[in-house]
């Protein structure tokens, strides 16, 4: 470098970097942290579109869409567990895949830690609802494909709803339908069903899954910093909203039911 240094030319800086493109247009309509919530109240959730039975080759399936979170779920089985010893209770196997185009950055189609962490959380929400004692030696496979991702919390909550609907559609015996709702703590307010921007701006996020029919909670997952009192308030708010979601799930299953 220093050997062909030419002082007659305008020399650039020694090290240079490609510019970092920031979407910095002063768009007044865009939500920014600190602003009040746009287009809905803190306790409102995004509209849900839920359709069971879209994947015809699967035993049961569901497709769910809440604005920019889009998830397809297919349930296969119960089928015979292979390569394991005799198990008295069935196994619930949850797998989550991100479509390579589901996030801002391309996700290479390989299994990574985040896929598994979401699968573990959805498994936790569902496992107590399925009557696994009726499926000895069998495995029930739940496959979720995240087509568009708008926040991990939203994926876990929406994925749980889709998976439970797909299980009901697959005719798998369950104690009750599981619904799930996310919340984020924004300042002192609790915002339900946050999208990605809101969840990252919030101090803490919480996802709660419950069976509204039996009034029991199956999963709680909280992260970030929150006072215990606010945590309880978050859980209460989520559980209330889960009942609304429950009626959406019920409606979609009823309208999809065809007596034979």
């Amino acid at each position: 470098m220093s050997t062909n240094f030419d002082r007659r030319r305008i020399n650039g800086p020694e090290d240079s970097f490609s510019p970092v493109l920031v979407d910095d247009d002063e768009d007044e309509t865009k939500w920014r942290p600190g602003k009040p919530r746009q287009s809905r109240q803190p306790q409102d959730i995004r509209p849900i579109f839920l359709q069971p039975g879209l994947i015809s080759q699967a035993n049961g399936s569901a497709y769910i869409e809440t604005e920019r979170t889009k998830i397809a779920c297919a349930v296969y089985g119960p089928r015979q567990s292979k390569n394991v010893g005799y198990i008295e209770r069935g196994r619930l196997n949850v797998q989550v895949k991100f479509a390579p185009f589901s996030c801002h950055k391309r996700r290479a189609p390989i299994r990574d830690a985040e896929d598994r962490s979401i699968a573990v959380l959805i498994h936790q929400s569902l496992v107590s609802s399925v009557r696994l004692e009726l499926f000895p030696k069998s495995t029930i496979d739940v496959f979720l494909t995240i087509i568009e991702n708008d926040g991990i919390d939203s994926c876990v909550a929406t994925g749980t709803v889709a998976a439970s609907t797909a299980l009901a559609d697959a005719g798998i015996e369950m104690l009750g339908l599981v619904t799930s709702c996310a919340a984020t703590l924004m300042g002192e307010e609790i915002w339900l069903d946050p999208n990605h921007d809101e969840a990252t701006a919030g101090a803490s996020t919480l996802v709660l899954a419950c069976m509204p029919a039996l009034n029991v909670v199956t999963s709680v997952w909280q992260n970030g910093t929150i006072s215990p009192k606010q945590g309880l308030e978050c859980m209460k708010a989520c559980q209330e909203r889960c009942e609304t979601i429950h009626s959406i799930v019920a409606q979609s299953l009823v309208s999809n039911f065809t007596p034979e």
Partner: protein, 339 residues
């Protein structure tokens, strides 16, 4: 997140019935809210910036090998923000690896999954922005520290999550970030002279401006490498309390510090991570694990009692860490005197 020990139906019911009795009985004679003895030592890895070893349930007089044993160590690496993977302000990454010796009956795939699950729980809690240390910056927008916290599970006889977070907190409290000084290069004078500039938080107006070459280019270590300042966070690193829930009824009974057998016998566990600082008690993470269920009403009570247990644990750990600090400094002084 499956139990690591497989028990038969009758073994499970045996343990459950004994725990559910009016005067509960545990195999090792503890009461429901008793911990096993916890041993802690900091500074166990000399090449790490901070480290700790935790053992829960080591029987007295026995050599290592019994109880749950966990080692945590913190390493700091320099990262470039613009050219590397680094992020302005530094990064904190946690990894848990389970030794095959701790889980001899698990296949390597299952072991990987278990390590993954523990990693995620540790990482989601500790690398949350609310706990981010402020002093991981070396040169604003240029260089930063990558803090990696590696935890190894050497043996597991139950309650591994409490042990993980005890070790993590101790190692992080033990960590010293080396002091750095920014070094500036001034091309105008053509003298290739290096001039010390105190590290300042003033960021250059733009990295593209060529007129103002005020930005610092590199850094050097200020002192000896074993000296440094502790991590600077707004709150305290949290401690974990696992409440093992016996029943899903409205008045849940729970017990602390389960052994592996007890863990395999119970349907549900509630992981609670609390951080206590003068500004108040904060819940840093909360998670239900297992195939049981719970009523929301009972969560109020569980959170309350979890907070009390966590506070006691937190206080005991704080005292122990101070003691450790004192012991090591004493030792160092004594060694210095010998020379």
């Amino acid at each position: 997140m499956s139990a690591t020990v497989s028990l038969s139906k009758s073994e499970k019911s045996y343990i459950r019935t004994a725990l559910g009795e009016l005067s509960p009985i545990r195999a090792d004679g503890r009461s429901l809210l008793d911990y096993r003895s916890i041993a802690l030592e900091t500074g166990v890895a000399s090449l790490a910036n901070g480290s700790a070893r935790v053992n829960i349930g080591k029987t007295a007089g026995e050599e290592s090998g019994s109880g749950t044993e966990v080692i945590a160590a913190v390493k700091l690496e320099v990262e470039g923000v613009l050219e590397g993977e680094g992020v302005d302000g530094g990064r904190l990454m946690c990894t848990v690896s389970c030794s095959p010796a701790a889980y001899p009956h698990l296949s390597s795939a299952a072991l990987d999954d278990l390590s993954y699950d523990m990693t995620i729980i540790l990482n989601q809690c500790l690398s949350h922005p609310s706990l981010h240390p402020k002093n991981l910056v070396i040169i604003p927008k240029r260089r930063s520290w990558l803090l990696t916290l590696d935890v190894i599970v050497l043996s597991d006889s139950g309650n591994v999550y409490d042990a993980l977070f005890l070790a993590a907190r101790s190692a992080l409290c033990d960590t010293k970030v080396p002091k750095t000084r920014s070094v500036q290069y001034q091309p105008k004078s053509n003298a290739l002279g290096e001039q010390d500039v105190e590290m300042s938080a003033e960021a250059p107006a733009s990295i593209f401006s060529t007129k103002e070459v005020k930005s610092t280019a590199d850094f050097e270590l200020a002192d000896y490498w074993d000296e440094g300042e502790p991590l600077d966070i707004n709150q305290e690193w949290p401690v974990c309390v696992t409440l093992n829930l016996l029943s899903a009824k409205s008045l849940p009974t729970y017990f602390l510090d389960a052994t592996s057998q007890e863990e395999a016998a119970i349907p549900l566990r509630l992981l609670l991570l609390f951080s206590f600082s003068p500004s108040g008690t904060r819940l840093q993470s909360m998670r239900l694990m297992g195939d049981g269920e719970i009523q929301l009403e009972s969560m109020t009570q569980l959170l309350e009692s979890g907070e009390n247990h966590a506070r006691k644990l937190f206080q005991a750990l704080k005292n122990k860490l101070q003691e450790e600090d004192f012991r090591r400094n004493q030792k160092a002084l004594a060694r210095f005197d010998l020379r």
